[in-house]
Symmetry: C2
DNA sequence: CGCGCCGACTAGCGCGCTCTAGTCCCGAAC
DNA sequence: GTTCGGGACTAGAGCGCGCTAGTCGGCGCG
């Protein structure tokens, strides 16, 4: 493909191979292999000669051939959704962590035209030894089946399978903290915009209901169907605005959803947090972007990613280890989008006001 | 790694190979190969038998071995930055487009701990035939050198190299449209927060200066050093707020930067667009998130991604084709963040007001 | 001196596939 | 009947490596 037809080293435009390096350094292929794998058995002087020759030729080991011959790829496959900022946070930690343990990372994204199955098959056909799935939506039995074919770790899976490792945040605790925080501030009308069938949202939804119950607010609990997107947040906010009475606080399914809520309320002139409090979930990068800094439940991306890589590698290197679960504690990060409730004057009739502010 | 030691098909826990399928179907390996490559030369009945056997065994061709033997990987390597939403938009188009042309896609992300060289080497060692670089920051000579080793296409490169294909938006035209739009609205004090050394920002900066000149506003042109992040936008906004007089409009280096500006102005009670107009760049997904819908310069992600894949594949399949450049026209999308200038009452002294509103 | 040992190095097989150069058989053409 | 052609299928080399089982030479030791 490139026109280097006359090279002094005999690699006629070909990508140089170990044999070329061996010839140039005056040693055998096996020696070159040793040197490149950093294995003992090569003299220091020879080692240097090999490395220099390789450098001169621009030699680079061929991953495909290496995988084929070694029966190991030392590669972790990561399935992600390109548009989820929280997952981007995770990826940024997975790379160095994998490298530290001597593993490569291959990314495979899901997209509207590319479902999870496709993304996963791509990783497997590239001989990834372990898969790390970020927020997989697949059902438990599918995950289990996958778990039979490879070492699999899921971060925040929608459903928890038993044959794979799971890393997740204790959503019950997180939601509980959020509800406690708002109730402590004096809120009573707390609506939850859930994440539909997205990973984690079922747990958060139930935790919300339980937390409301625990505060004796079970009958006032209300869940609006949503999703983990800005659009869902905007839609929910519009629905709320269409109603006669606004709740005093909204718990969003994730930060992106919270941002959508925030935006529509801002446009409608509903002040956050004066008129309505909003809590997000994730503490992803976007949570700093809101016009009002977002109060949110922080999931520790760094810890989650670290654990996921560790679990995968451990299971790779000790086949007898069973899948396990790591549950991390979330933490409420109180920023500017929550405050004690006040009457939403414009939208409250006086009787309602009496009732609500009573 | 999995305990299927007693399988009836003889693949003792091993991943099944072509030989296993061949044995099960009672044909030769070569035949199985033909069938899986959809090549003529196999009878319809045999073909079905092979496919069934493969299905039964759970056979899946091994990409590594395939690459090794075929000398072709039919794989495009994409280098990206996980945190840039515009790049996520691109990736979502690259996948289906590559698939349509019969190519696979491998993603490799840059991150704080992982520079462009590392990301690219990973792709090359996986035998990617062509690289598509999203917003590479590498300098021209590095890109050219890379262009000698593989077929390379860059989208919005910081510097344009001649040995690689380039796809970019006509930043001159885009910036010109933005400046024209604001000047038409009546603005005279337009500040540009640039993208520092990030891809595309040099062009946008120069285009801004030229456009200001063209309107006879050259002496009022002012560039604030920035970056393509929300943080940079926030910092610049604070700098502007510290000064006695606010400009009437700010052109941000990209949407994320614009979001940062928007946020700080909102917090400071500076109304957008009443007190100050803001224009973004990219029209990425985030541009819909601002409390005020963002006026921005739309880069057509879909077209850019399509062109990039097309160029790469064309050059792969016709080695004589020289690198070329595709420049797409951007389009101003006027939303809510721009309006005719009014006096920023709180921040204008009356004399300044007279001067600025005159 | 002979033996064993160890470090440095090599020969060559095999990983799972592709691909070239075949073989074999059946039917049509002469 | 023979030849030819072509469709269906196979044998076997080789892709670039890793790895096992060696060889070779030097050195310490009895």
């Amino acid at each position: 493909m490139i026109d280097d037809s006359t090279r002094p080293d005999g690699t006629n435009g070909r990508r140089p191979t170990m044999a070329d390096v061996a010839r140039a350094a005056g040693v055998s292929r096996a020696l070159v292999s040793l040197v490149f794998r950093n294995k003992p058995g090569a003299g220091e002087e020879t080692r240097q000669r090999v490395l220099q020759a390789a450098d001169r030729l621009g030699y680079q080991p061929d991953t495909a051939a290496r995988m084929l011959a070694s029966h190991r790829s030392r590669t972790l496959g990561v399935m992600l959704t390109v548009h989820q900022p929280f997952q981007a946070d995770l990826v940024e930690v997975i790379y160095p962590e994998a490298e530290r343990l001597g593993y490569e990372v291959l990314l495979s994204a899901t997209a509207p035209s590319r479902d999870e199955r496709k993304a996963v098959e791509a990783l497997l056909s590239h001989r990834c030894e372990a898969l790390i799935l970020l927020g997989p939506r697949a059902e438990a039995d599918l995950l289990d089946e996958l778990g039979r074919r490879a070492v699999v770790t899921a971060i925040n899976a929608r459903e928890e399978a038993t044959r794979i490792d799971n890393v997740r945040t204790a959503d019950e605790a997180g939601m509980r903290q959020a509800v406690d925080h708002l109730v402590d501030l004096g809120h009573r009308e707390l609506v939850h915009v859930d994440g539909g069938d997205e990973p984690g949202s079922a747990g958060r939804r139930e935790a919300y209901l339980r937390a409301m119950d625990a505060h004796g607010l079970g009958s006032r609990a209300r869940v609006l169907p949503g999703a983990h997107t800005e659009q869902a947040g905007q839609d929910s906010a519009r629905r709320l605005l269409d109603e006669a009475v606004l709740p005093t606080a909204v718990l969003a399914g994730n930060d992106r959803c919270a941002l959508g809520l925030l935006r529509v309320f801002a446009l409608a002139g509903v002040d956050v947090p004066e008129a309505i409090s909003i809590v997000g979930y994730d503490d992803s990068h976007v949570s700093h972007l809101a016009p009002v800094a977002l109060t949110t439940i922080r999931q520790d991306a760094e810890q989650m990613a670290r654990h996921a890589v560790r679990l995968a590698v451990e299971r790779l290197e000790d086949a007898s280890r069973n899948p396990q679960e790591v549950v991390l504690d979330p933490r409420l990060v109180s920023r500017g989008s929550t405050a004690p409730p006040r009457c939403a004057l414009k939208t409250c009739s006086s009787t309602q006001r009496a009732w609500r502010c009573g």
